[in-house]
Amino acid sequence: MNTLISYLKLAVAYMQINFKSLIAYRGAFISQMVAMFINDFVWIAFWSLFFTRFPVVKGWGVNDVITLWAIAASGFGFAHMIMGNALALPGIIVRGELDTWLLYPRAVLPHLLLGKSNATSWGDALFGIFVYVIFVKPDLPHLLLFLTLLCSVSILFVGFSVLTGSLAFYIGSAESVATQLRFAMITFSTYPSPIFQGFVKVLLFTLVPAMFVSHLPVSALRNMSLSDTLYSFGGAFAILFAGVLVFYAGLKRYESGNLIEMRG
């Protein structure tokens, strides 16, 4: 319990430092955040146009897609707003920049992940909550469940980023592969899940676990389903666990880059 509290304090401290670091370049930070907000909003506009023309897609309406975008964007946003280095993991490994993190008297992975905040993710996080509250207009139980599911989706995204980023330990220059896999995950996560059937659906529950973003959380919110909520968390923790295992197994193969690096 003490360890958990200690790491929570570390997370809070890092969030404060990372935020100060971001607002040191206030103009850049705000413009990136606003741009991501607008980017996400453009997708909502696309879906609104689509559903104006074709009102229902396999039982999904525009509100379901807005819910999907809200939870996917804010889940991704919170994940990388707090643990921004998850996105940079393959580059850090390939360039031999892990050395700095290995010197700290903390477990390497949480410390490394917390070390940076991704500026655009703030836009995603704010966007998700904003559109859910403004467009879906949830009652209190739905809002609370949304915030709960936000945690599961964030855990899933961090786990997936760690899992794909850790491939760099095994296949060398994995930045491109990790980016492609992440794009695939995000893309599959932001389309109505009923359009995927058969083998692809199995794939989306396993290799590219987008169903734990698009299908289960949306279903949980539609039906206020406890089982779907639990399945969402189960999937998220499974991916996180796999990511942690692959990272630490890969860490044994890590070779120092003899890189001299200063961290302020």
Partner: protein, 262 residues
Amino acid sequence: MDKYIFIALTAIRSKLAYLGEVGSKTIFLFVVLYIFLSLWQVTYGETNQTSLGGLTLPQMLWYLVVTESIILSLPAIAGTVDQDVRTGSLALQLIRPISYPLNLLASTSGERALSFFINLSVGSIIALIFVGPIAISLQSLMMFALVIPLAFTIDFLIYFLIGLAAFWLEDTSGLMLIYSRMTMILGGMLIPLELFPDSWQQILRILPFSAIVYGPARIFVTGDQTLFCSILIQQIAAIIGFSLVIKLIYGTALKRVFSHGG
């Protein structure tokens, strides 16, 4: 002119050295095309229509192959200008006996031509597997071959303008992101303009986005001659207009360049 052709060919050769990286991007193309096929299959099925916006399901997928190939072939234009301005390497470029904008146009056009060719080839194979071939006439291919370089030129000019904003803004990545999304949605990358509300269509057809994405893709798929003429006029007007704006802004921006020896 020869030197710019040489720069474009050098950019292609240089890109060919990293063919693996270019190829890895086609994984995303596969994912996107599969998702769109699934979405449109459901949409055509639920509406009981064989044609939406004047396109059959196979035509729709081929349309998306072209639009995605255009969007995914984009090289780093604004980012390069932004970096050149921020790091000061623009000053170094200016002392060379070539025009900086034309040099960048040539090198990025070479890169883009190769990426587009690879994307279109891979996308065509994917479309052939998913929905089979569609009838494409030689005439539509020729019209397409004429409008696609002009589409890339307009895109270049707009991204170059965004890059020039680095002279005044702390960060231009936000502008790049917004412009790219505008091109994707308002340019008809995801849905052809015919499926937009009628009131929107009139406006979208005038904007440059449609001349970059929708026009070339629709011409490729349908071989529409009337559309070809209107897109060609729109493209030429856009190129002239944006070139003039760049001339004005680039001239103003260069007055802000200070360099010293060392």
